[in-house]
């Protein structure tokens, strides 16, 4: 049963990744007019455009282009950046470090903020703390993260000097210094993303706290702290893991904007610059890598349920 379930999910994942590739292929061809001319800008001659079309294979029939694209993507070739004249995978890999750590740190901050408050808010449901936690979470989800970033950068970094204001420490910076540059951006992104996790944690804890076995544990004379942390939290873990998967998309979107605010040379900055430079292969490659990662992470999370909760059977 288990093997069949895993197999079915894997096949589903392959289909979705295939569709992701197809969508990325179609998007670039939605451009009105000649993509080669668009990429080169208004000064280019017709001969330049023809040369670029030939280099990108845009002069061949669409079905052939599509098959070549899928074939290349399956062997890990996402094309060549026009601006950098390097493979897209290489360009992306060079800028992955800040983005990956920014996402990880902000997820960590979001969990550290949201989980304890969410649990406590559920435990003291309807209290002043509960209501303020919900209101603040909603407020955090309403303020644009780049705006918070700009404000925090202006006052905490530029004016008070508590954090490095921007950048990634320059070319000679060691690992610790690079990470130090990520602290303030991660904190901003973490606070913004904690809103969703807080609401989810609170809701799933509320469900579990009403269950019979929690009442049983209490009536057996088990201490309140132990009831909440051992029995309730363990069973509220599934929805919380789900929300971490959902947060991935939010984290990536947030990272794109936050990297721009703090001038961090990551994948977000890369993709925005690619748009300004009309470097379509880079845009396409970023879309494919991020969406595939999303699909894989969510599959892993679904499979994690099997480990976390013994009651889940497929």
């Amino acid at each position: 049963m288990l093997a069949r379930y895993v197999l079915r999910r894997l096949v589903g994942m392959v289909i979705v990744v295939f569709l992701v590739l197809t969508i990325a292929f179609v998007i670039v061809r939605l451009a009105p007019g000649d993509p080669a001319a668009l990429m080169l800008g208004p000064e280019a001659t017709a001969a330049d455009a023809a040369a670029l079309r030939a280099r990108l294979g845009l002069d061949r029939p669409i079905p052939i282009q599509y098959l070549t694209f899928i074939g290349n993507a399956l062997t890990g070739d996402l094309g060549t950046s026009i601006f950098f004249n390097q493979p897209v995978t290489r360009v992306l890999a060079d800028r992955a470090e800040p983005t990956v750590f920014l996402a990880l740190f902000s997820l960590l901050f979001a969990l550290l903020i949201a989980t304890p408050i969410g649990i406590y808010a559920a435990y003291r449901r309807g209290s002043f703390l509960d209501q303020s936690a919900i209101s603040i979470a909603m407020l955090a989800a309403s303020v644009p993260s780049f705006w918070t970033g700009l404000m925090v950068q202006r006052y905490l970094a530029t004016e008070l000097g508590w954090f490095p204001a921007s950048g990634y420490g320059g070319p000679d910076a060691d690992f610790l210094e690079r990470m130090a540059h990520l602290m303030l951006p991660s904190l901003v992104l973490g606070v913004v993303n904690s809103a969703l996790i807080l609401r989810f944690t609170r809701a799933s804890m509320l469900d579990v706290l009403g269950e019979d076995y929690v009442r049983t544990a209490r009536s057996k004379g088990m201490g309140e702290l132990r009831v909440v942390l051992r029995h309730a939290l363990k069973n509220a873990a599934i929805p919380i893991i789900t929300v971490v998967g959902l947060t991935f998309a939010l984290l990536v979107s947030g990272a794109v904007v936050t990297e721009r605010v703090f001038n961090i040379p990551g994948m977000g900055n890369l993709v925005v610059n690619a748009v300004l430079r009309r470097d379509y292969p880079v845009i396409q490659g970023t879309l494919i890598v991020v969406a595939t990662l999303y699909v894989v992470i969510n599959l892993v999370i679904d499979l994690l349920y099997l480990v976390v909760d013994k009651r889940v059977k497929y």
Binding site: G12, I15, V16, L19, V20, T22, I23, I27, V28, L30, A31, P32, I134, M138, L139, A141, S142, V143, P144, F146, W147, L150, M151, R154, T158, A203, L206, F248, A249, L250, V252, S253, V256, V257, R260, V271, V272, V275, L276, R278, Y280, I283, Q284, T286, L287, V290, A291, T292, Y294, V295
Partner: protein
Amino acid sequence: MAAAASSVAAQEPGFLKLLLARRSVLVALIVFVAVVAVCVLAPLVAPADPMKMSVRARLSPPFGAYLLGADPFGRDVASRLLYAGRVSLVIGAGVALLSTVVGVMIGLLAGFYRRLDGPLSRLIDAMMAFPDILLSIALVSILGGSMVNVIIALSIVYAPRFARIGRASTLVIRELPFVEAARALGSSTRYIIANHILRNIVSPIIVQATFIFAYAMLAEAGLSFLGVGVDPSTPTWGTMINEGRQYIDQAAFLIFFPGIAISVSVLSLQLIGDGLRDALDPRLAREL
């Protein structure tokens, strides 16, 4: 028929009463209507011409001759804020409307026709694998940055969410006895979809549309901030923040006010959405 009509009539005040029972929802509704009103009436209420430059007024601080200060070109920030709000609100509303129509249509097809369900559902999954900012950046960069293209791009991004809701609700409602009865009475598929299914999925769709309105306003601001949204010569709350960025050290108010405008609008929309959800579906209300 009479019984049905009277039960609908009896529901109406109940719904409004439920919606406005929470003070936060009432306040949010008043605030949002006020924001929309001053932006729509911008030509009448704006203190100055939003495009008029004045070298001497350059970066005037707020609460002086200029209520909310003046920008680097000496243009009145308060007036620009009102005119920019029109664009931001139109984009939010346009996206909510367009993505609802397209998404619900796809969802109905997937939910009602079994053969279409598999392919359409996989397509929805694939679309939702792209983070919204990333997909909208790519779409706007390819379609070009006009207001209409931003609306189209963001609608493509958000339509799959409506498709999921539409599909899920259709799957449930399709199996209910009254749909079977309608079919037995000889109703056509189109009639059943229009009169039975659509009518019964309105509530979750309205709630979602309210949230998408809010998300689209945030996304538009993000796109404009990144410089890949609407043409920078059109003021929106996002482009105002982007323009003010290089003056943040001497004139933070240039960024502060548009940020507040976005946050207040988005927050009130989210509160209204929450209120609508609880009022339209009291079963969910217990959560809060």
